[in-house]
């Protein structure tokens, strides 16, 4: 303490200088707005850049945590997306009519899985037995025939699409009502099918519409495609022609499942007739 006092008195000029200089500088910076602003600004710049560097370092260290939290947030947001919800509000188009009893009931459905490049192509739709879908129902979309239901779960159903070697539908030429059946073409082109077994007397024209006949799952007159070639390879005894599908199976998004109310009756009746024969 004594030594300290001696030291201070020995260099008193310096300490006095410090005291007075600091106080005058304080006055100066406090009462002169330009210098005040400059001083504060520059110190803020220094402090700011230091803080920025520190933050950069800390951020880098916590990158993995950040990643985790972002991933979690992504998942949470994805869960809120409309597409992740199973839509259980169901719009069945139904007509109550006292004169005409409704034969066909439509259930809209969304295609959630689809393929076009196999020999046996299937779709999956987001409706199942809980929504009244049953095996054997027809499936159409706004532009034409799609296929038929072959497998049903509670909320999902499998649809055997028209692009399947096993699929056969009864169809007819729109103009002269000549019956035939449609199947997928042999060269597995997702746009082309074959209209088989048409009566030889029919006089089909290029571009003629091919529609459902009403003898199978679908109502009469649903578009299937248009005749594009009258003499495809592999023709048989009866008249065959190439049909270009009106449905673009690549881009299927929404379909309608057709419930033919009379299908069971028809089946039962026809089965009984077979038995009778």
């Amino acid at each position: 303490m004594r030594n300290l006092l001696i030291f201070i008195t020995k260099y008193n000029a310096f300490f006095l200088f410090l005291i007075f200089e600091i106080s005058s500088l304080l006055i100066y910076i406090k009462y002169n707005s330009f210098q005040k602003a400059t001083f504060l600004n520059s110190s803020n710049q220094v402090i700011g850049s230091l803080y920025a560097q520190r933050t950069q370092l800390v951020d880098y260290l916590s990158l993995s945590e950040q990643n985790d939290s972002l991933a979690r947030e992504n998942a949470a947001l994805r869960n809120q997306l409309k597409s992740s919800f199973y839509v259980d509000t169901l719009a069945k188009r139904k007509v109550t009519d006292t004169i005409y009893k409704q034969q066909y009931e439509y259930t809209e459905a969304k295609v959630i899985n689809n393929s076009v490049n196999h020999s046996y192509n299937y779709l999956t739709i987001n409706r199942g037995s809980k929504e009244g879908i049953e095996v054997g129902m027809g499936v159409i979309c706004s532009s034409g025939v799609v296929g038929k239901v072959i497998n049903v779960r509670d909320h999902l159903a499998n649809v055997q699409s028209l692009l399947n070697k096993d699929t056969r539908f009864s169809v007819m030429l729109a103009k002269n009502k000549e019956i035939g059946y449609i199947r997928w073409g042999d060269d597995q082109d997702p746009h082309k099918g074959l209209l088989m077994d048409v009566n030889n007397n029919a006089q089909p024209k290029l571009g003629e519409a091919v529609v459902t006949s009403g003898y199978s799952l679908f109502p009469e007159g649903i578009m299937v495609g248009r005749v594009t070639d009258l003499h495809p390879k592999g023709g048989g005894i009866s008249l065959n022609m190439e049909v270009t599908f009106s449905v673009d199976f690549d881009k299927l998004q929404y379909v309608d499942v057709v419930d033919n109310k009379l299908a069971k009756e028809q089946e039962g009746l026809e089965a009984q007739q077979k038995k009778d024969d």
Partner: protein
Amino acid sequence: MIINLLRFVVLVFIQVFLLKNITLYNLSTPYLYILFILLLPFETPNILLFALAFLIGLTIDAFYDTPGLHAAACVLLAFVRVLFISITVQKEGFDNEPEPTLSIMGFRWFFTYALVLTLFHHFFLFNLEVFRFSEIQYTLERVVLSSIFTVFLILVSGLLFYRRKERK
């Protein structure tokens, strides 16, 4: 004591009412008032020296509307004065030489003394006023030219009083 008080008042008056209006080419501004600090007696205690420097600085600041600017420069000036005197003046000579004036200390010593102290004071003053390093060249020009002006005035005033004291 009374002479110093009188000098304080007169120098502040000259500085504020005369020299404040004199600026050559926007570059050279004389600050003659520092003569008061230069001419304080050798035996002034350090605390009084600093207090007086601070006081005259604040007084000038009051007229220049720059609180603290001249005070800071004057405090630095006082510190440089203490160092300069402790280096160049023998302590035994204090009895015979009460004040560091031109007539007592001789032209060479007084000129160096005034020049060094003025340069320190002006350099600090101008830089503190500008408060930027980007204009350092212009600031240095002003420092040098103003110092020349100030030293010139100091020497003139020293010579003025030199004669009178010799007559006594």
